[in-house]
């Protein structure tokens, strides 16, 4: 689960990391009020940042500066409602604009190949790390945390020196250890600070000092660990989740909406992807990924069918079940029940093999379902049905 920058910053602050102040505003008026508070407190300018869960906000025009509250209102008005990579901006982060001396990159990420937490740092901050990795791989320094002991102090020092942060080593070590602590405390797959920056701060008496701070934060949480962090559910952004995805998640189904016309219902993630691929290969377009999981019962199947049919573009459905733990007759009963409740009629091709497939076949034949024996045949029939429905419409 991805969380917004402001929420990521809150988690960092809770773990004791240095993050400059911010406020979240949902309207231009709120943004102006927040800007006024920061400007009154001594900031020369404020930064206003679109809060959407996609990268490249700056390039898209979603990050801007303002020197007065009125300017902040106008800037916020221009950012709110903006479309960034298909996401509508519904809120902005407002904070004092930092006097940046130098930008760095720092992240902790799950390295699946090494089966370790990987720390990555670079003196080339503020740009996308993929770009640095492609153009100047030597500019990135890495270290793996110990798999049982975690990140050790000397490793954090090594990374800090290699990033050129010798002048701010104590802060660099604290932040590096802090992001690993954050990762473990909340079961994150990724904690990224880009930029980590040396900024000049001016005190009330006019004296200035340099400080290393986290100017941006990106955190991705491990979905598998959410059950043990119920408080993090509150960070799930309802604006960013498709309603159908949410309904499916709450029903214990894995559903991802796509753009096509052929609804797919499958047991098992690998087989669900394969079913989509074969629909495409047969000349059709899958409308969704849907894994009903192992051992799904009739009511779950009926629920899955309602979610698929709620997409008005769906004009044919392909059901592909390879029964292992899942019993074919349970699925067949769910399909029959769902069809009885359906408010629109869509052609359906059903293929059920494995556990209790014979019982399923009998039930489906009695209910006059169109069936298929193998996967390729099922995909071809579903594509033909979708084409016929498309032509008829």
């Amino acid at each position: 689960m991805k969380i917004q920058e402001a929420d990521a910053k809150s988690l960092l602050v809770a773990e004791g990391l240095p993050v400059p102040d911010w406020e979240v505003a949902y309207s231009d008026v709120e943004a102006a009020a927040a800007a006024d508070r920061f400007l009154t407190a001594g900031a020369e300018q404020v930064v206003i940042k679109a809060q959407v869960l996609v990268g490249g906000r700056g390039k898209a025009g979603g990050v801007k500066l303002a020197a007065t509250a009125e300017e902040a209102r106008a800037v916020a008005a221009s950012i709110l409602g903006m479309d960034i990579k298909g996401m509508t901006v519904r809120k902005v982060l407002v904070g004092p604009a930092a006097a940046i001396v130098r930008e760095y990159y720092l992240s902790a990420v799950l390295d699946r190949a090494a089966r370790r937490i990987l720390l990555m740092g670079s003196a080339e901050g503020g740009v996308e790390i993929e770009q640095v990795a492609a153009e100047r791989p030597d500019a990135i320094v890495t270290v793996h945390a110990d798999p049982t002991l975690g990140l050790l102090d000397f490793q954090a020092r090594q990374l800090g020196f290699a990033m050129g942060l010798g002048g701010h080593l104590k802060a660099a070590v604290a932040i590096t250890r802090g992001i690993v602590r954050t990762m473990r405390a909340y079961d994150a797959d990724l904690v990224e600070i880009n930029p980590l920056a040396i900024v000049t701060e001016t005190a009330a008496d006019g004296t200035t000092a340099e400080r290393l701070v986290c100017l941006d934060a990106k955190i991705t949480l491990d979905d598998s660990a959410l059950p043990r962090h119920p408080e993090l559910e509150a960070l799930r952004d309802p604006d960013e989740e498709d309603p159908a995805d949410r309904e499916a998640r709450e029903a214990g189904l894995t559903f991802i909406k796509l753009d096509g016309t052929i609804g797919c219902m499958v047991n098992g993630a690998g087989l669900a992807m394969t079913t989509m691929d074969l629909v495409k290969r047969a000349g059709g377009e899958p409308a969704n990924f849907l894994d009903i999981g192992g051992g799904a019962r009739a009511d779950k199947v009926a629920h899955a069918m309602r979610i698929i049919l709620a997409d008005p573009k769906v004009n044919a459905i392909l059901v592909n079940i390879f029964g292992g733990i899942t019993r074919g007759d349970e699925v067949a009963r769910g399909l029959i029940e769902a069809r009885g409740q359906q408010d629109r009629s869509v052609p359906m091709v059903v293929r059920i093999v494995g556990t209790n497939a014979d019982e399923a076949a009998t039930l489906l034949a009695e209910a006059h379902f169109e069936t298929a024996t193998n996967l390729d045949e099922a995909a071809a029939k579903a594509v033909a049905a979708s084409r016929a429905a498309g032509t008829a419409a």
């Binding site: 690998g270 992807m273 494995g354």
Partner: protein, 294 residues
């Protein structure tokens, strides 16, 4: 022979008194897998699956009393990493963890502890393995198999059943079929399994079933290009139509930052001389075209 499990297997089932553990222990025993013990803390002294298997409180005790040498774990996600480490510490060398939904960071330490004890973990979030005719560990339906000489390795569950069924229907039997699991952090990789198959004199051909996410297929392809040129191989990759940035059911099945795409995996396999099927049903034909005559 076969790899990982076979006639020499002496299996302990951890979580045998739970609903899943009981159901699948019965299916494994019915298949002929030698199940020597079950473990459920607090239920030591009882028996499971109609009195066929003795239950112990700890894995260490089960090993001491029965010489168990392999384990199959059906413990819920919250306790599964601990169950893995308990098995490794008790000296179990081959540990299958079927449990899904384990937080990835928990598995980092568990994988390391297994390695330190000289054991091997398969999974988590995997369907297990079958060596047709001798043993089945996990949840793969026994009925889809046919005994033979093709090794099958996959990241998936039901997709593996699909491919194995297609091969059995085409008369291609299997030496061992193994699902390595769909999670980001797993104990045994494609590469590890390819090495085991390469060293197994009864495996004469290999089928690899991968999916989007990570780079384990690419790593396996590079090794196969050097070491398995003489072995007939075929592959299938799921997720050609998967969108970027979405987890496709399996926690590990995600394309991010342009990495982990099906195209990259297909290209790596093909440049290693391994044909990639457009459908699992085409795997038997591709294996024949690659020179497999068994």
């Amino acid at each position: 022979m076969s790899i990982l499990i076979g006639p020499e297997t002496r299996l302990v089932v951890q979580g045998i008194t739970g609903r899943e553990g009981e159901f699948h222990a019965r299916a494994m025993a019915d298949y002929g897998t030698p199940i020597v013990a079950g473990v459920t803390p607090g239920k030591g002294g009882q028996s499971a699956i109609d009195g066929r298997v003795a239950v112990f409180d700890t894995v260490a005790e089960a090993v001491r009393e029965t010489d168990a040498n392999a384990s199959c774990i059906f413990v819920p996600a919250a306790g599964a990493p601990d169950a893995v480490m308990e098995a490794a510490s008790a000296g179990i060398k081959t540990i299958f963890c079927i449990t899904e939904g384990i937080p990835a960071l928990d598995m980092i330490a568990a994988v390391e502890v297994v390695r330190q004890h000289g054991g091997r973990l398969i999974g988590p979030n995997c369907p297990g393995a079958t060596s047709p005719g001798s043993a089945k560990v996990g949840i793969i339906p026994g009925s889809i198999h046919r005994q033979g000489r093709v090794g099958v390795v996959s990241r998936s569950g039901t997709l593996t059943y699909e491919a194995v069924q297609a091969m059995s229907d085409a008369g291609l039997g299997q030496s061992t079929c193994i699902g390595i699991g769909g999670d980001p952090v797993i104990g045994t990789t494609f590469l590890d399994v390819l090495k085991l198959f390469a060293a197994d004199d009864e495996t004469e051909a290999i089928v690899l079933i991968g999916e989007i996410g990570g780079a384990a297929e690419e790593e396996a392809a590079a090794w196969a290009a050097e070491h398995l040129r003489g072995t007939p191989m075929a592959a299938f990759i799921a997720g050609r139509t998967a969108p970027e940035g979405k987890r496709m059911g399996h926690a590990g099945a995600i394309i991010s930052g342009g990495r982990g795409t099906a195209a990259s995996k297909v290209e790596a396999l093909e440049s290693a001389g391994i044909r990639v099927a457009g459908s699992p049903l085409e795997l038997p034909a591709l294996l024949r075209e690659a020179g497999y005559t068994g």
